[in-house]
């Protein structure tokens, strides 16, 4: 395969950025969500089901990152 170095850098940085950004979003979402009182939670799910709207409480092992 020609130009393998260029390809690896280009793809690697693209996918790497995606993974890092996704991880940041998930972690930031968690730390922020934890600070909101249970009664006022919206757009969120929690494992114990407290305050979650109609969302399921399944563990999210399928999420990316």
């Amino acid at each position: 395969m020609t130009h393998l170095g260029y390809l690896l850098v280009g793809w690697g940085v693209s996918l790497g950025c995606g993974v890092l950004y996704a991880a940041r979003l998930v972690l930031r979402g968690r730390s922020l969500a934890a600070r909101v009182p249970a009664g006022q939670r919206r757009w969120m799910t929690s494992d114990d089901g407290a305050g979650s709207a109609a969302e399921s409480a399944a563990p999210d092992r399928g999420a990316p990152s």
């Binding site: 693209s14 969500a33 494992d47």
Partner: protein
């Protein structure tokens, strides 16, 4: 995963995330082993499977930012403001990736990392700078509504000026090296085109996933600001009442 962890994901986003993971794997397989090499560019052509989808979503993000900005200015709807903010942030990332992969691809193909004669590359760089400015403005802080209005004006300004920038750079260079749009020139092999479409779909799914999470974060931040304000007020009131109580007892 501790019990009771609260998160911004939902069944939909988990499904989306799973689809993205599978899609990326498929894209890697297709991109590196499925699609044939190009006659002229040889294997460097495999870069377009990440470059073109990034570029496509950069401009999608710009449109969403512009729509969200206009809706905020028109309806004063917080929902649209958060949408505009999320799209701008994700757009910056895709925009940076577009520039990066474009440069990396340009080196073996054009023999240069940066070609001033290329209209779309230069336009995208200016767009990148404007989006960065828009985010810097948001992070500078201040009154919530004022920040939203300012960012909305900058978002609209960026979107409105992109066609003009494109025109001016095109006239200026007048000798574009960039391939004619890869999707429309009909020169691509079937499997290459298919891989490119897969790339765009996968990137678009990731975009939607990120938008949902980012939107929820924006919503949470807003809620937390409101809560902080409330607690501060309550504390202040408590202080005031103890002070006045102290005064009367003297």
């Amino acid at each position: 995963m501790s019990a009771g962890a609260v998160k911004t994901g939902s069944r939909t986003t988990r499904l989306l995330g799973f689809a993205v993971l599978v899609g990326v794997l498929a894209l890697i397989l297709l991109g590196f082993f499925g699609a044939p090499e190009d006659d002229e560019q040889r294997d460097a052509v495999r870069m377009i499977f990440v470059h073109v989808p990034s570029a496509f979503l950069t401009y999608t993000a710009l449109v969403i930012t512009a729509v969200g900005s206009a809706m905020w200015l028109w309806k004063r709807s917080r929902w649209w403001d958060i949408v505009a903010h999320s799209a701008a942030e994700i757009g910056v990332i895709f925009c940076g990736l577009t520039l990066f992969t474009g440069s990396i691809w340009g080196r073996p193909t054009w023999n240069t990392y940066w070609d001033w004669g290329d209209v779309r590359l230069v336009t995208t760089l200016i767009l990148f700078l404007m989006l960065v400015g828009c985010l810097a403005l948001r992070s500078a802080g201040g009154d919530e509504d004022a920040v939203a209005t300012r960012a909305a004006v900058v978002g609209l300004l960026a979107a409105v000026n992109v066609p003009i920038i494109n025109r001016s750079v095109e006239w200026w260079s007048n000798r574009t090296l960039h391939q004619k749009s890869s999707l429309t020139d009909g020169n691509l092999e079937d499997l290459t085109l298919f891989t490119l479409v897969v790339g765009i779909v996968v990137w678009a799914l990731f975009f939607v996933w990120a938008m949902i999470h980012r939107f929820r974060i924006g919503w949470l931040e807003r809620q937390l600001r409101a809560i902080d304000l409330e607690t501060a007020l309550v504390q202040r009131r408590a202080e005031a009442s103890t002070e006045s109580a102290g005064e009367t007892s003297q």
